[in-house]
Assembly symmetry: C2
């Protein structure tokens, strides 16, 4: 299994992603990461200056990945249909990549608010909203929609609602929300 034995930023990133998804952020430590790559921990620092840089790159990856999932789901649909499809893709992504998704809305150091990959995601939400309300740059509505999506994703993960509850609550909430926005 051991490859030509050289590291690249991508092979490291891929291994880091696996560790993150399997055991959460605390499991993504430099030593286990090095073990998994068949390498000594210090070697990693040639490719990423520190652990924070690695996490930052993963965060970017998550933003892009989630955005891609929503875009793909909305492709070929318009208005309510596009919004519904993208919303489903959102919670489905959060469900299937819980820890990666968890990086996205972690509190940031003030002033470091990301100008990066999250922007595209935000613009996408704005576009979906516009397709329903016909109001461009309706940030209030976009904030509200995102809040609902994120909140649902977290509640779903927390497992506080037994088994059946969440899913139908999602349909009901999303529909009510859209109806309320457009009336």
């Amino acid at each position: 299994m051991p490859y030509p034995a050289k590291l690249t930023t991508d092979t490291i990133l891929s291994a880091a992603l696996t560790l993150l998804e399997q055991g959460g952020p605390d499991a993504l430590a430099m030593r286990p990461l090095a073990d998994r790559l068949g390498v000594r921990p210090s070697s990693l620092y040639r490719h990423y200056p520190d652990r924070a840089a690695l996490l930052g790159t993963l965060e970017d990856h998550a933003a892009r990945d989630l955005h891609a999932a929503m875009s793909q789901a909305a492709t070929g649909r318009r208005g309510h249909e596009a919004l519904h499809a993208a919303a489903h893709a959102y919670v489905e992504y959060a469900r299937s990549h819980p820890h990666l998704y968890g990086l996205l809305l972690a509190p940031r150091a003030p002033g470091l608010a990301g100008p990066g990959a999250g922007k595209d995601l935000w613009n996408h939400v704005l576009t979906l909203i516009e397709g329903v309300t016909h109001t461009p740059d309706d940030t209030d509505a976009a904030v509200a929609l995102w809040a609902f999506l994120h909140g649902f994703a977290v509640l779903d993960r927390s497992g506080q609602f037994g088994l059946s509850g969440p899913r139908s609550g999602f349909e009901r909430g999303l529909s009510s929300f859209i109806r309320g926005l457009t009336s």
Copy 2:
């Protein structure tokens, strides 16, 4: 300042709460906690079996505290007014006690879903919803409302929306949601 120099579960809890609110869950460690109480770390284990027990107690405290804040805000109001007031109290609580609030929806070990203080909070949300929709035990609507509240609290904390965005988004979202529920 040093008192009769004896620990109680409550003095420990109070100091733990301070550490938690000041520096987040990672700052709540046994050693700093003991320092703050003028005591050796090992002494703490006479009162709490381990750190997890301490966190669990704090979690209960958070649930009760948040519930109290919502109840007080809703007292003397009915229907939409009660719901709006409690909703505001919710996000305000999350804003002023971010780390304590953060304990509430942390993922739990499956099967350990809390039968504890969170139940009262849930029932309160159900009552608020019933006051608006006149439907008892409308769990779908309650899940949707809670999702929106929680999601907004997190987005607000994440600071990804500049400064002005979130607040008006909250009003818009809450009103739309209620309108959608009742139409």
